[in-house]
């Protein structure tokens, strides 16, 4: 048999390490979140993007209120933990004081689409040179799975037990699509973290957004669709498929706006 490796003796050379178990800049192995949650995957590719762009020592993260806030405890960069929904305004102040630093927000859909829609739209319209990142799982995960302004039609939550019904609850707000229409925007993409391919693509989106920010191109925005096994009424293992079948139909993934020179791909 070709390629047969005898196992009665130790290997002649050690196997190659294909990936580190820890993300760059990560200081702890405990992500504090639920098994099956998509957020830690999003954190990881964000930290990898920061590391690969060599911006660890010129980066400030501005974090809203949600499960993802825990990244503050895990990643060794400067963080400003701010009030619910206000991160794009806070990041504006930070960026105007430190124009050469990469300033990004990390928010959920409850934080951005519900509590702070004005903040993100105004920052985008101003062409504020920051990167806003929305982790969208369609629920208030931190409070146990209630409906947000981005919950998709039909989605069961603790406050829409029979599923989001447009007649009673209205429709989800497509934040990325709104932002993409504003002239101050340089780059808008929507990715997901429910399979290896989507993770790889989303990482490219994050990297491109941060890179364009550092080039001063304008407002950059990445929405990341993620799983919430606790807040969704689906089994944990079915989360990634549920995301594809429901969220991606309402919120199609891909680059929505790449007007900035060199953007896209």
């Amino acid at each position: 048999m070709t390629g047969f490796v005898p196992t009665d003796a130790p290997p002649e050379r050690p196997s190659l390490q294909v990936a580190s178990t820890s993300a760059p800049l990560q200081v702890s192995e405990d992500h504090h979140l639920c098994p099956g949650c998509g957020h830690p995957v999003a954190w990881r590719i964000l930290l990898e993007a920061i590391d690969e762009l060599a911006m660890a020592q010129r980066a400030i993260g501005v974090v809203g209120h949600g499960c993802y806030t825990n990244i503050v405890r895990l990643a060794d960069i400067d963080w400003l933990q701010c009030l619910h929904g206000r991160a794009p305004a806070v990041a504006t102040g930070v960026k105007r004081v430190h124009p050469d630093v990469g300033v990004f927000t990390l928010q959920g859909d409850g934080d951005m689409a519900s509590e702070g829609l004005a903040e993100v739209l105004h920052a985008a319209a101003r062409g504020e040179r920051i990167t806003a990142i929305m982790l969208n799982n369609g629920v208030f995960g931190d409070t146990g799975g209630q409906m947000t302004a981005a919950s998709v039609v039909g989605q069961r939550t603790k406050t829409s037990l029979e599923g989001r019904d447009p007649a009673a609850h209205g429709y989800p707000v497509p934040v990325a699509d709104l932002v993409a229409r504003l002239p101050g925007t340089a780059y808008v993409a929507r990715g997901a973290v429910n399979n290896a391919g989507s993770v790889a693509k989303t990482k490219r989106y994050l990297k491109r957004a941060l890179e364009l920010q550092l080039e001063g191109a304008g407002f950059t925005f990445v929405e990341v669709l993620t799983m919430c096994p606790t807040g969704w009424f689906v089994p944990t293992a079915a989360g990634p498929d549920y995301l594809s079948e429901t969220f991606e139909r309402t919120f199609p993934v891909g680059e929505l706006h790449t007007d900035a020179p060199g953007a896209g791909g």
Binding site: I77, C82, V94, A118
Partner: protein
């Protein structure tokens, strides 16, 4: 340097620039609007940034971000707009981000708002209430200093008279002493070194470098405000030494009250004026001392009775406390109604003093 005739808002803006303010964000609302316009004109001239914020909430949060990044920063509005900012002012008190809030109020009805606040948690805001433009220039600079000294948001309680009166004033840089380095401010330069920084109300730190956590952090913040209360109370006493009656007033009301006190003195009444310069911390001990042996303490404020709570707390029942102010609104909306005037104060003071006459054959 000589005094130049300028509008109060222009003088306050210049004082802020002289104090090193380089970031300002606000949303227009009378009588605050002029300050925003002056900052929008002046800050770009000195390399600063003034944001015409889309909402008061965004404005104060921009300022929180700029201040957390190490800049001297300020925002403002009048009471209605400051109401929208309360959540962020409380947050800044708890995560210890220093900036100045200019409340160019529509009158004296925001005393509770300035001194109690409407945010959440255990916090206070150092609040200075200038009596005129000259004092507002000094207070503006002092507030930036106190904000940095204590890492806390501070409030200037001005009003229409401070914002819109033209006075000959000199805006000279004031030195209030050394300040600790801003070694907590975020600049993004320490990622991956184990020395990165956080501004976080819960102060939990990183897993490899834990912070004190909310219990210890918020107790420390509360102790800090206790220390401020003990150290920073300021007041002005006018003819209080032998006074049988005191009139307590704050801000723009105080010059009217002092004028009335001077008049009444000339007529033989033993009356004095007391003015808290800091509304928080309220100068409790100084007021109690000034009121020692007085037959009545009259409280003049152009509102339904707000500061009078602090007067009563300071005096703890040791002498009668009598409200002589009241709500007084004119058509301008600036709340400068007929109650605010020497004739009105005089009449109200005399009536109140007559109810607490000197005992036969004796004075205090």
């Amino acid at each position: 340097m000589t005094a130049t005739l300028q509008q109060g808002s222009a003088a306050v803006a210049e004082a802020a620039v002289v104090a090193g303010c380089r970031f300002f964000a606000g949303y227009p609302m009378l009588p605050f609007t002029d300050l925003l316009e002056h900052m929008a004109r002046r800050l770009p001239q000195v390399g600063g940034t003034c944001m015409n914020a889309e909402t008061e909430i965004e404005g104060v949060n921009m300022v929180l971000g700029a201040a957390a990044a190490g800049a001297r920063a300020a925002t403002g509005s009048c009471g209605q707009g400051i109401a929208l900012m309360q959540e962020t002012i409380a947050e800044a008190a708890l995560n210890e981000v220093p900036f100045v809030v200019f409340n160019m109020a529509r009158g004296q009805q925001d005393y509770f708002q300035c001194t109690r606040g409407g945010g959440w948690g255990d916090y206070r805001t150092i609040t200075l209430a200038p009596k005129d433009v000259t004092e507002a220039v000094e207070h503006t600079q002092l507030l930036f200093h106190l904000a940095d000294l204590y890492r806390a948001p501070t409030v200037l309680y001005g009003d229409y008279l401070v914002a819109h009166t033209w006075m000959g004033v000199e805006v000279a840089q004031r030195d209030f002493g050394p300040l600790p380095p801003k070694d907590w401010a975020l600049d993004g330069s320490r990622g991956g070194t184990g020395r990165s920084r956080q501004v976080w109300t819960w102060a939990m730190g990183r897993d490899d470098a834990p912070g004190p956590g909310p219990d210890a952090h918020w107790r420390a913040v509360a102790e800090k405000f206790d220390a401020i209360a003990a150290a920073e109370a300021r007041h002005e006493a006018h003819l209080t030494e032998d006074a049988e009656h005191l009139i307590v007033s704050f801000g723009s009301s105080a010059p009217f009250v002092e004028h009335v006190v001077d008049e009444l003195r000339e007529e033989g009444h033993r009356v004095g004026a007391f003015r808290p310069v800091t509304l928080w911390p309220f100068p409790e001990a100084a007021l109690a001392e000034a009121a020692e042996g007085c037959r009545s303490v009259l409280v003049f404020e152009v509102n339904a009775g707000q500061m009078i709570d602090d007067v009563r707390l300071a005096l703890a029942g040791r002498c009668p406390v009598v409200p002589i102010g009241g709500v007084s609104i004119d058509d301008s909306g600036m709340r400068q109604g007929s109650v605010l005037g020497a004739a009105s104060i005089r009449e109200r003071a005399l009536a109140a003093m007559a109810r607490h006459p000197a005992p036969a054959g004796g004075t205090r």
